[in-house]
Symmetry: C2
Subunit: 254 residues, 2 copies
DNA sequence: CGCCCGCTTGAGCTCGCTCAACAACAGTGG
DNA sequence: CCACTGTTGTTGAGCGAGCTCAAGCGGGCG
């Protein structure tokens, strides 16, 4: 049946690294290269010691799990390096990749006391971790921080709502084009080369993000390549050769 | 082609009532029946006069438009009676109903300076309107209000993310079952009868909300009815006859 | 009364899914 | 070093769920 999951998705699950990540003391926000991207920036520089006081640093190797869907939520995070995916799994194996998290992204905007997604490292990653209670206390003390979080939440709402249109009404080609442009737009201010996208995730991840199957994603890539809209040898590093054509696909008629 | 829009969707558009809604002075939060449902409640009762001072009251007849996609955003609202829909339209006519707004819902959680959706009244509605600037000032003065908004935004993020799974991976029957339960759950604390759902919107609205066509929605309704999971004579008032079966559909395997 | 709109049902088609095979590559152990 | 294995990406063949097109019915409104 359509939208039924592949069996092996449930049967095996990913080869799994130990959940317990490498934990270190925080080294201070002063030299943080991602501060300007993160919510931390809503706290003025002279108040960062309040953040530092409660922060810890986490290192996850690629493939490791930061949190499991349903587990109690004890910390919030800002990603300072690497890429994560937020995954939701139905009991029958159907899978959704709700989003990919990039450097500077904040993890923890939810009303739930439990994790709503399993969070897995796609590449080696580094995070700043803040205990939930400390974060709440910090918000109470620094309205600017709460205000920053609200702004962040609103942005994320906008982004998520845009995804609704993608999933509800776009064709596979349009979904993929939009995805490539979106990733490029996000990677550019993070030091990505103009006209290039890094896709360290697998094609299955992309498929489960776009509501398609791997095969359809793969075929769509081939079609974009045949039409000279993109180029790649390595399937994880894509040159956006004709971004205008991609844009025309992603926002048809606009 | 699949996911191509019906032509008449673009050609005509809905029969349109004047956009300028009926505006009245605000009558005070004191006797507000929906306060307990709304963000307004995050402001302690003794501070509501600050809200009242800037609030206006709006009445929209069914079919009227509160705001148009792309128009500058000048106010935020809380819905005190009736039902609205948030609509996004692609130039070629493909349509998404991002959500249905019920009594107590807040309108204005976005990072954008412009409306991201057209907002239309499904039934006659009443709203409290707050100028954007005043709201910002209020947030600065009352951290509790901002905190309430953040909580609200987080809840809405959770809900929207849940919709992603629906649109990406659920079958039509599962989508409809989930939708009915979700609407029932929302209507119950607002005085809805247990085991009943009011669906004042059209089947097209439901279809465009669930990423389906009208026909598929209609057939799914018929199937739920044949299986005795729901009952109805009036297509806008549904009895959830076997909610367990609906739940089994909406959360398969869980 | 007649028209239009909203809902439903039927018939047939198509796009994206399922199933299957294969190539390239990395890791592993003999 | 190479055979073996598992993972990832790609491609082909065929199918079926949901879409398109078409028709009919009932109710509200001018």
């Amino acid at each position: 049946m359509r939208t039924r999951a592949r069996l092996h998705a449930v049967a095996e699950g990913p080869r799994r690294l130990p959940d317990v990540p490498h934990r270190e003391p925080h080294t201070g926000c002063r030299g943080c290269l991602t501060r300007h991207l993160a919510v931390c920036a809503s706290l003025p520089a002279e108040d960062t010691h309040d953040l530092e006081a409660v922060a810890g640093r986490l290192r996850l190797p690629a493939g490791a799990t930061l949190a499991r869907e349903g587990a109690p939520r004890r910390e919030v995070y800002t990603l300072t390096a690497g890429m994560l995916r937020q995954v939701r799994l139905l009991p029958d194996g159907r899978r959704l990749v709700a989003g990919f998290l990039l450097t500077g992204d904040f993890i923890g905007l939810t009303g739930s006391a439990r994790h709503r997604h399993t969070i897995e490292a796609i590449t080696d990653t580094v995070l700043c971790a803040f205990p939930l209670q400390d974060m709440r206390a910090l918000c109470a003390r620094h309205p600017a921080l709460e205000s920053g979080l609200l702004g962040h939440a609103c942005e994320e709402l906008d982004a998520t709502r845009a995804n609704l249109m993608t999933l509800a009404r776009m064709t596979p080609l349009e979904r993929l084009a939009g995805f490539l442009l979106h990733m490029a737009d996000r990677q550019h201010p993070r030091g990505g080369a103009r006209g290039w996208v890094d896709l360290p995730m697998t094609r299955v991840d992309i498929a489960d993000h776009l509501g398609l199957t791997v095969e359809t994603v793969s075929r769509s890539f081939t079609r974009l390549r045949r039409d000279d809209a993109v180029r790649f040898d390595d399937p994880h590093r894509i040159a956006l050769h004709a971004p205008d054509r991609l844009r025309a696909l992603a926002a048809p008629g606009a």
